[in-house]
């Protein structure tokens, strides 16, 4: 075996194999560890929106030890994309038109399977990180929202514009910060009108125009306390909720009338 390796020809061959090993092992060598500052969002009576920190560390293993010794790979650019989205739902977009002097909802378009909350944050603008094709493939970015279920046009533009205005959609490259090329953090904001349900938070690690790692976690968003009780009661038992609302109103009305009479 030793004589076998001493041959110059085979030495060269071994180097090629080693290089191959390095590049494949490099592709697998990065590890991504992420976490959220909160693992659920609870909507209570004092809820007025929420902020969350998504943070993590990137282990690059750039010093890969192989049979042929230590090889340092320099000058690799990593980018991080963070996506948080709510469960897909069906939305209807209505367009107002002037009919006989009055602005009336006229035409509409239904969009199925689209998140009611979608925030995508990245270290650089998306189009500088990934090609259009890649973005579409992974369904990343507001233009690819709903995995292409929305046909381009004024309705799609209106959807994105409206949702951005109400703080439910965002595409930004300002909120992800990276420290020492290892630690990263993304600030996420949630408005008070956020839909409830299981949100999905995803982190993508991008290198050289390719997504090399992804990490997904579920972020449940629920109403809590009396808010949850009232909401569930209203939606699960509508007739009883109606009767309860009447009883509350009648007793509150009689009570306040009684108090008012005593006071005057």
């Amino acid at each position: 075996m030793m004589t076998f390796f001493k041959s110059n020809l085979f030495n060269g061959f071994a180097l090629v194999i080693a290089t191959c090993l390095i590049s494949t092992s490099l592709a697998k060598s990065e590890t991504l560890v992420t976490d959220l500052s909160q693992h659920t969002i609870e909507i209570t009576s004092r809820f007025s929106g929420s902020e969350l920190l998504l943070f993590g560390a990137l282990e690059r293993h750039a010093h890969e030890s192989t049979q042929s010794g230590e090889i340092t790979v320099q000058g690799l650019n990593y980018d991080i994309i963070v996506v948080v989205q709510s469960e897909p739902t069906d939305l209807i977009i209505r367009k107002k038109e002037n009919i006989a002097g009055i602005w009336v909802n006229n035409e509409n378009q239904t969009i199925q399977g689209i998140p009611g909350y979608y925030v995508i944050e990245s270290t650089r603008p998306l189009d500088q990180i990934l090609s259009k094709g890649k973005l579409a493939e992974y369904g990343l970015g507001l233009q690819n929202i709903g995995d292409g279920s929305v046909e381009a046009g004024e309705y799609k533009e209106a959807l994105i514009r409206n949702m951005i205005d109400s703080g439910l959609y965002l595409e930004s490259s300002d909120n992800v910060t990276v420290r020492n090329e290892i630690l990263f953090r993304a600030n996420l904001t949630f408005p008070s009108n956020m839909p409830v349900g299981d949100y999905k938070s995803s982190v993508y690690l991008v290198r050289d125009g390719d997504i090399i790692l992804e990490d997904h976690t579920i972020l449940p968003v629920n109403k809590r306390g009396i808010e949850r009780v009232i909401y569930n009661f209203a939606h699960d038992y509508p007739p009883y909720y109606g009767i309860m609302a009447i009883i509350v109103a009648i007793s509150a009305g009689l009570f306040s009338g009684y108090v008012a009479k005593k006071l005057s």
């Binding site: 739902t89 209505r94 959807l159 008070s192 209203a234 509508p238 609302a245 109103a249």
Partner: protein, 308 residues
């Protein structure tokens, strides 16, 4: 301090809600009106989805009218038989009103219908009230006494199904009170109002009921009809926000107490002209929203839920 409204699914400043409820309560105490026709538009202007504003107001008016109805009942100011006929009509009207409401909501036209009914009813009622109070002020200046017309026989007396209402000392056809009750029921369901502004004049001028039982009987009908509307909206569209209703109600009761005291210092005609002015302002604001091109032509709503 923000409070999250569980059904409206948005958070609002509790002090703003108190101010709104108290302000409307003050005005309703001062003018002796229910205040639904002011509260619902104000809630809509404040950003509450119109469907939720209407349904929640129906719930709040139940609370606002029940103590008044009880007070009049103790004083013997309720014609129960007439009340039940009005309620029978009212429940049918509310049922159809809630059906129209649910249907229009499903096709995305409920906001338009709410605005249009407000413009039509507030415009005509406010306009009539304004003209009427200006006339009576002018008459007073000229020193003329208001003409008291003798009760004349009209086509209303010719209608069949006559009933005797002992308390009101009347023998009239049940069709007219049923129809008035039904109209008020429809309005309660689609506008979130008690409908006193239609029913009280109708009872006085169409049915010629004695004024001592008009208010008590109409409050009784309003209590039942808005309770029916609350129930139907809860079942059909889940749009009644109890938390919002209770906050507004608490503030409105306090406001109304102050309003009543201020109201007694003002003359009847002055009050009516002020009220007419308010009604016309709300009407104008609603009309403005209909005819001026909105900044955003598109609206988004979740299917089966309320839009944000």
């Amino acid at each position: 301090m923000q409070i999250y409204l569980p059904i409206a699914e948005l958070s609002m400043n509790i002090f703003v809600l108190f101010a709104m409820g108290g302000g409307v309560g003050f005005l309703s105490g001062m003018f002796g009106v229910g205040g639904g026709f002011l509260m619902t538009p104000i809630l809509i202007f404040a950003g509450v989805p119109p469907a939720i504003a209407v349904a929640t107001e129906a719930n709040q008016i139940t609370a606002a009218s029940v103590s008044g109805a009880a007070a009049h009942w103790r004083r013997g100011g309720v014609d129960f038989k007439m009340g039940f006929v009005l309620i029978a009509g009212g429940v049918v009207g509310t049922y159809f009103g809630a059906m129209i409401f649910t249907y229009l909501r499903s096709i995305g036209q409920v906001d338009l219908m709410i605005s249009m009914t407000y413009v039509v009813f507030l415009g005509s009622v406010g306009g009539l009230m304004f003209i009427e109070s200006v006339r009576s002020i002018l008459r007073e200046r000229r020193g003329e006494a208001a003409k008291i017309g003798r009760r004349q026989r009209t086509w209303i007396d010719a209608l069949p199904f006559k009933m005797r209402f002992r308390k009101s000392k009347m023998y009239i056809s049940a069709i007219m009170p049923l129809a008035i009750g039904a109209l008020v029921g429809v309005l309660a369901a689609i506008m979130g109002v008690g409908g006193g502004f239609i029913m009280v004049p109708a009872m006085i001028y169409l049915l010629h009921m004695p004024t001592n039982v008009v208010i008590g009987t109409s409050l009784m009908q309003i209590t039942f009809v808005t309770a029916t509307a609350t129930y139907l909206h809860s079942v059909n569209t889940q749009t009644v926000d109890v938390v919002l209703a209770v906050i507004l109600l608490t503030a409105a009761v306090i406001g109304a107490q102050i309003g009543v005291r201020v109201g007694t210092k003002l003359k009847g005609e002055q009050l009516r002209i002020l009220l007419a002015g308010m009604v016309l302002i709300v009407c104008a604001r609603m009309a403005y929203g209909l005819v001026v091109e909105p900044a955003e032509l598109f609206t988004i709503s979740v299917i089966g839920g309320e839009g944000h």
